[in-house]
């Protein structure tokens, strides 16, 4: 890389010039920040200011810029220069907007601004320009695992967009669960009647599309590589295997119905007249619009009971704790099979809470009532076969009484269990158990499904990580389809329980994501959420101790091991969160433009006043996804906070290396606040595990503090949502108060 030419630009617009001594800031940039020049401008983000900067860049005067103006989140389109490194000093949202415009506050406000100039200068000095590794080319081919509604739709969408798709289906025919349906829940107005499933047409479209290859009776026996260069072995039942290259992968492996034999109270298996929802579909298919007959004796069904939430939404051992989302609609649809064939049939849906999701859900419910389906709010306790008929025992929750109801047929609405393969996170638990109890270990082994879907050749495990209840981890609101394996997208009921309409939508979303991923990979750019980022982690091999912390902690399984057991970074799998960098105990991992040095030096650049000046210094390491915007918005709302705080944005709290905390304390900082996103099952972390890992790391910082003879209150970690605009200034001010109470840090030199 060519010589670094540093230059600073100080904006005086938006009141910065009135509140701060810009001349002084320019002098600090030159003298302390060691920049070649420091220019002041009255309105830096206007076309004149931008032109001035561009002219300097074009003239070769500068290639590492400090822009001291507003927050790095503001005016990003104006200060968007190519092929240069930029650091932004936040003088507007971070200084003048959070400080009162009084003579008393003037001095501390100016100090705040000066420190941000020092921090930005130090940061830019240690930044390098990122360049793509060009590890992969453009592979316009997507692997779709699963040939059900989701897989078929995904493949079609991919083909329609001009890319190739390959479907791998385990069974001998396409269609998945939907092929077993007599009819589907309607997805068009007036949402009144069951509708043709359309699956035959879908299969026909897929089979006649020359951009789609279909492998039946096949499984994926090995997947390796990264986005843009996935290689998958597709093995036929017969034993033959083909290997192909793919740009990205969609896992649409669907669900299997919950095993109703686990519900002995409902006598499933004891009488053929007790069926689950797929069993009823089979009976309806057989009847094909005519009267549905009982399996036991072929008698026409005159009364049928649908037991909702059978083995689901229950905290009993072995039951599903969640709602499968489609069963109320499905049972209504199935009750209509009976009512449409013969209105005299008594069809009763026994529910506790009826849930009719989707645009047409309520209309469909109303239509069911109109057709005379009886909806009874009650809890079924038992189904008893008694010679020719079945007695359903339930408690009517409206009339508050126990009822015995005789029926010819009982349908159990059991839930959806995802086909998500091996739970890779259950494996370490198994190893731990090995030590203490052999029996417990055997139990764990029994509950782990052995069949892998993707057979990933990743150090972290063979399948996609799961979040709760065995569904693949894919943030259901913020980042649907995204999984913790970059370039592999989950769609359909493997992600969360859903019906055909939602699965179709999912397929489209995942298809677009898959295309985006392979295109990004070809350009060497990050996919979601730092979309377009070219930076990429690398490590200094000489320093590496092969501790494997990076390979273990990477939330995306981006780091494998090479033959010598050194970490092997896969650029295209990386999301650029920096969790590896935060994890590395020997600090050998860095990005070109984000490293232990860039942030560490910025922290060290802060001028810490002597103890007797009574000006404490508080460092905030704020996640740039949620906490930093919240701080910015606090500024926009002119909420004041302590002038002693210095905020350093980080890509993710997971990228915070404890050395920053230790160094800051050694440099005389009095308090440190870490602000990350919400963690746990309902996490909001853009990098899934980053915040959680950071919290774990910081929970161990107390020892360090005690070693340094410091109070543990000096370092605090918070979960911040982007909406915590009132809360962030409060947290900062509380810390300032705490320091006032416990006194200044003794480590000021």
């Amino acid at each position: 890389m060519a010589d670094k030419k540093l230059g600073a630009y100080i904006c005086k617009g938006c009141g910065i010039g009135d509140r701060l001594d810009a001349g002084q800031l320019a002098m600090i940039a030159k003298k302390e920040g060691k920049v070649g020049f420091a220019k002041q401008h009255d309105f830096l983000c206007n076309s004149d200011g931008v032109k001035m900067i561009q002219a300097d860049i074009d003239a070769g005067e500068v290639n590492h810029l400090v822009v001291a103006a507003c927050s790095r989140r503001a005016k990003s389109d104006a200060f968007n220069f190519e092929n240069v490194a930029i650091s932004r000093a936040n003088l507007r949202e971070g200084v003048i907007w959070v400080r009162p415009d009084t003579d008393d506050a003037e001095e501390t406000t100016q100090e705040m601004a000066e420190d941000y100039i020092r921090m930005a200068c130090a940061e830019v000095k240690y930044m390098n320009l990122p360049a793509p590794s060009e590890e992969q080319g453009l592979v316009r081919h997507v692997l779709v695992v699963g040939g059900g509604v989701t897989g078929l739709n995904a493949a079609l969408e991919i083909a329609k967009a001009g890319y190739l798709a390959t479907i791998v289906e385990k069974n001998g025919a396409l269609g998945g669960a939907a092929a077993q349906f007599h009819k589907r829940i309607p997805n068009r107005a007036p949402f009144a009647d069951p509708q043709d499933s359309g699956i035959a047409d879908l299969i026909e479209q897929v089979e006649s599309n020359n951009k789609i290859t279909v492998h039946l009776n096949a499984t994926v026996t090995k997947t390796s590589g990264a986005p843009g260069r996935f290689s998958a072995d597709i093995s036929q039942e017969s034993g033959s295997t083909v290997t192909d290259n793919f740009g990205s992968i969609i896992q649409a492996s669907g669900f299997k119905p919950y095993d109703a034999t686990k519900l002995p109270e409902f006598s499933y298996g004891k009488s053929p007249d007790i069926v689950d929802q797929l069993g009823l579909e089979a009976l309806a298919k057989q009847a094909n619009g005519g009267a549905i007959k009982r399996p036991s004796d072929g008698k026409e069904v005159k009364s049928v009971v649908f037991v909702q939430c059978a083995g689901q939404r229950s905290d009993k051992e072995g039951h599903l704790s969640y709602c499968s989302g489609h069963c109320c609609l499905t049972s209504t649809k199935q009750a209509m099979y009976f009512k449409d064939a013969n209105p005299d049939v008594d069809a009763m849906v026994l529910y506790t809470e009826l849930r009719m999701p989707g645009a047409g859900g309520e209309d469909f419910y109303r239509s069911g009532q109109n057709k005379g389906v009886t909806f009874t709010k009650g809890i079924a306790s038992e189904v008893v076969p008694n010679g020719g008929s079945l007695t359903v025992k339930f408690k009517d929750l409206i009339l508050d009484e126990e009822v015995n109801y005789d029926a010819d047929l009982v349908v159990l609405a059991t839930g959806m269990v995802p086909n998500s393969g091996v739970n890779i996170e259950a494996v370490p638990a198994e190893n731990e158990d090995k030590k203490d109890d052999a029996e417990a270990k055997a139990e764990v082994v029994a509950t782990v499904p052995v069949e892998s879907i993707l057979n990933l050749d990743y150090r972290q495990g063979a399948d996609l990580p799961q979040l709760v209840n065995g569904f693949t981890d894919s943030h259901f609101i913020c980042f649907p389809y995204e999984t913790r394996r970059t370039g592999i997208y989950a769609a359909g009921p493997v992600r969360r329980p859903m019906d055909m309409t939602q699965a179709t939508e999912d397929a489209t979303g995942a298809a677009l994501k898959a295309i985006q991923a392979l295109e990004n990979a070809a350009l060497g750019r990050a996919a979601h959420p730092r979309s377009g980022d070219l930076s990429f982690p690398s490590f200094r091999k000489e320093g590496c101790t092969q501790c494997k912390r990076c390979t273990v902690e990477c939330p995306f399984g981006a780091i494998n091991e090479d033959e010598q057991r050194y970490p092997l970074f896969n650029e295209a799998r990386c999301r650029r969160c920096g969790t590896c960098m935060g994890a590395c105990p020997v600090r050998v991992i860095s990005f070109e433009n984000y490293s232990v040095e860039t942030v560490g030096q910025a922290i060290k650049a802060v001028e810490v006043p002597e103890e007797d000046e009574e000006k404490p210094r508080i460092l905030v390491l704020a996640c740039e996804n949620d906490a930093y915007p919240a701080l910015d918005m606090a500024g926009m709302n002119r909420m004041e906070y302590s002038a002693f705080v210095r905020i350093a944005p980080v890509r993710c709290l997971g990228s915070v290396n404890t050395i920053w905390v230790t160094d800051a304390l050694n440099n005389g900082f009095d308090g440190i606040i870490l602000m990350g996103c919400k963690k746990g099952d309902d996490y909001q972390c853009h990098f899934v595990k980053g915040s959680e890992l950071a919290h774990t790391r910081m929970s161990k910082i107390d020892d360090t503090l005690k070693q340094l003879q410091l109070e543990t209150e000096r370092v605090q970690t918070y979960e911040i949502a982007i909406t915590d605009i009132q809360r962030v200034p409060q947290i900062i001010n509380d810390m300032a108060e705490t320091i006032e109470k416990i006194g200044m840090s003794p480590l000021k030199f």
């Binding site: 008594d346 009826l354 419910y365 109303r366 009532q369 109109n370 005379g372 009886t374 909806f375 009874t376 709010k377 009517d396 409206i398 009339l399 009822v403």
Partner: protein, 209 residues
């Protein structure tokens, strides 16, 4: 049990919902209730009912014929129309309640000694006789509805009000003997007679079926 009642029980067996749909005014709405309970919560007399409307609808679906038709609930309705105004499914609940009361009365299953039912009968009798409600007679028969002693007691209690009404010429004591009627009394009687014939024919037809 009246003949009509025996016939309906036979016809519908356990399917009381269908019976209601066929015979009760606005009865076809009952199946559309989604059991949200807004009607029960909105009813000013709700706490005094044996079964609030939500429950009545569920009981109909559960085939509880005797409990529903023998219930005093429908007779408690004051026609305030709160339930109709609030029902998210737009069921004409007030009308269904009156329909059910009427049907129960026709079958002879309505609860004996239900005061609203009694009052309605007195009102109707007074009205159908002369085409006008005789307020004095209606009032007095209401006082004596529950026996002579009770009637005397109520009359004494209401004495002051009565005297006041007399003084202000709001009440004509001569109404006690006969009282005045509408213009074409005979015409009215004929209309009512015809209506009765039509209803009876309907019931007869029903019994045959």
């Amino acid at each position: 049990m009246s003949n009509l009642n025996t016939a309906t029980v036979e016809k519908y067996r356990n399917n009381f919902l269908r019976e209601v749909e066929a015979n009760v005014e606005e009865g076809h709405w009952v199946k559309m209730c989604m059991q949200c309970g807004v009607c029960s919560g909105s009813c000013p007399l709700g706490p005094h009912w044996d079964h609030p409307p939500q429950k009545i609808f569920m009981m109909i679906r559960a085939g509880k014929r005797d409990e529903v038709l023998g219930s005093s609930s429908m007779w408690m309705c004051t026609s305030c129309y709160n339930c109709i105004a609030r029902c998210p499914r737009e069921l004409p609940i007030t009308h269904i309640m009156h329909g059910l009361a009427h049907y129960a009365k026709r079958l002879g299953l309505a609860p004996k000694n239900q005061p609203t039912k009694k009052f309605a009968q007195i009102f109707w009798d007074s009205l159908s006789k002369k085409g006008r409600v005789n307020e004095l007679k209606l009032g007095l028969s209401l006082y004596f509805m529950n026996g002579f002693a009770e009637g005397v007691k109520t009359s004494l209690k209401m004495q002051k009000v009565g005297m006041g009404m007399l003084k202000t010429k709001r009440m004509d004591p001569l109404e006690i003997v006969g009282g005045h009627g509408c213009k074409d009394k005979k015409g009215l009687q004929a209309i009512l007679k015809k209506a009765r014939e039509i209803e009876d024919a309907k019931a007869a037809k029903f019994q045959q079926a």
